[in-house]
Symmetry: C2
Subunit: 353 residues, 2 copies
């Protein structure tokens, strides 16, 4: 199942960047690390039009393409060279499910958000010779990677737009992530992590329902907005949309992503001090929060934004909450396009008159 | 474990009202239905000072006593005759865990919120000869019972204060409740519902963590407000406070309550039409919502309040969210006391000049 799900047919076309053996922040090593990515548009002569957009939890870059890229959109391939990159562990880039024995499944080393960003930096510098990105953006776990980019490589990021995600995972968010992890690992079929293909569907279904109940808005259910997607009941929607999204994915891939999510923190770049870490940022930031987002409440995002120079907080209202990231809500799409276009039109702080 | 937990020592002193054989709305029968209750204060001569306060999910009346009753409080035993009643299935009133075979555990018939209110009506009329309550109030599932009282027995309720709960469980809330049910039943030790005493602790712990992650506020965790209770880490708090609260309780008792919660709906009194059902209410209502309550968002409560004659919406801010019900937050306690005192001082609509 994982093989057909993680195919070029489903998620392609995409390219692969062979990072090679890669030592993680933890000291562990991923052999032959591969980053799967897709590009749109053309890199200009001075390499000043590059945009990097890493994937979020449980998604691949295909959904980013559908939801955010297009002629006339803010991420217009006629103007920009857009690199969508699959984060480590998502089933397309090196992951528990697609690595060779013995370092596969639960023996796949646990990467951090910082490891993703270090590998992505190799991709943009070594493959494309890009030293500075016009924009880094991402939603949810993609926002975590965006934050890490802006803090870790301040000179390599002109602008950044973390959407619906934080620079340091909050204790409440960690508790939520723990419930997702436990939903999968508590499945008896998951056992010690060496399971039969497709066997962990109970755990994945349980995880999917927690995800929907905690992250989507009450309004989505109470006003039956899921009808817009053609479903007939709450259960029909949760099974047909949410369970169906997670069921084809590798349980250990999701667990790797969840543990990465849980540990997201730029603090170490400031000696453990979040404010000091965020003060390293040289980019111009539009920090985007989705109102009624159950995973990343506006208050949590606002609490970080206060420490960021050259930043503004953009609130976007959507009845879909966190799920708006998927591009399902035209009002969200318009609002996020407006925010990104404005950011792209603004000079980077270093260039400001 | 259940026996010592559900003891007079832990929860008493309380009295028992033997309802006798009781036919539920579903047609099923509970043999020798018992309601455990506790009273405070003295019923006056014209029986006009009676207050009924049913218990919420997973609690007994002891916590209501500690959190809401006292000299100088709005629920002052020197002025009022206060009846705290344990809802069916909570371990003190008739429940899966304390019923004799063969109708115990999963053979205990599933009651509805309406059944509770019918049985409580028997209690106040038959035991105390009370025809009209000065006030009915309750939090969470207690609010469900309060709503049911006001709609089902409009002439028996002068005032009502549903706190942090709805008249009809919303689809989003049902999805949340489903995740709680599944957290318990998915424990292998739960099996077919005939389990060894204490064996289902994994499921109860899982349920406790979902409950905390979904219902308490992000602020409670992110600002480490749990320190006020003497805990040292998030995990210490979740284990020592939340798991510890649920672990002694009967898994089938909690499931009975959760299914009752899930089905809460006054709609049938209006032929299925919620607005018509709520229009039956003759009492004066203060409908209290706790801001940042993850279970019962203010918007859901407000949506119902609009249909209720003689009502006002009272919003109470608390960093504890739904957990404020427990009386842990002095600011919540003051605000709820003020709202209840004001309501008790106001004439019932039928008596208004």
């Amino acid at each position: 199942m994982a093989e057909s799900y993680d195919s070029q047919e489903t998620h392609g076309p995409y390219d692969n960047f062979q990072v090679g053996d890669f030592i993680l922040e933890s000291g562990a090593k991923i052999r032959d690390l591969n980053l799967a990515y897709a590009t749109f548009g053309t890199l200009n002569a001075d390499k000043s039009n590059a945009i990097l957009f890493p994937s979020w939890y449980s998604g691949t870059t295909k959904i980013l393409e559908h939801a955010y890229i297009g002629s006339g959109r803010s991420l217009d391939p006629e103007r920009y060279f857009i690199i969508l990159v699959n984060q480590i562990g998502n089933g397309l880039s090196s992951s528990p499910s697609n690595s060779p024995a013995p370092f596969h499944q639960i023996r796949f080393p646990q990467p951090s958000i910082g490891d993703d960003v270090r590998a992505q930096h190799r991709l943009i510098t070594e493959r494309f010779g890009i030293e500075r990105l016009a924009l880094v953006l991402g939603g949810s776990m993609g926002a975590q990677q965006t934050w890490e980019w802006a803090v870790r490589f301040p000179d390599a990021v002109a602008r950044a737009a973390p959407i619906a995600g934080t620079a340091r995972t909050t204790p409440h968010n960690q508790l939520l992530v723990d419930t997702f992890i436990e939903a999968i690992t508590s499945d008896q079929a998951y056992g010690d992590g060496w399971f039969d293909e497709g066997a962990v569907h109970r755990g994945l279904r349980r995880h999917a329902r927690l995800f929907a109940a905690a992250g989507f808005t009450p309004r989505l259910f109470n006003e039956a907005l899921w009808r817009d997607l053609g479903f007939t009941t709450v259960d029909d929607f949760v099974t047909g949309f949410v369970e169906n999204h997670f069921l084809p994915q590798g349980p250990n891939d999701l667990l790797t992503l969840l543990r990465k999510w849980r540990g997201g923190d730029v603090g170490p770049h400031g000696g453990g001090d979040l404010a000091r870490a965020l003060a390293r940022i040289k980019a111009r930031l539009s920090i985007i929060a989705i109102e009624e987002d159950g995973f990343f409440p506006v208050a949590d995002i606002e609490a970080e934004q206060r420490f960021v120079p050259h930043s503004r907080l953009v609130r976007i209202a959507s009845a879909w909450g966190h799920l708006a990231l998927f591009g399902l809500d035209p009002a969200y799409n318009r609002a996020v396009d407006a925010a990104l276009s404005e950011l792209l039109a603004a000079p980077a702080p270093q260039e400001a008159p």
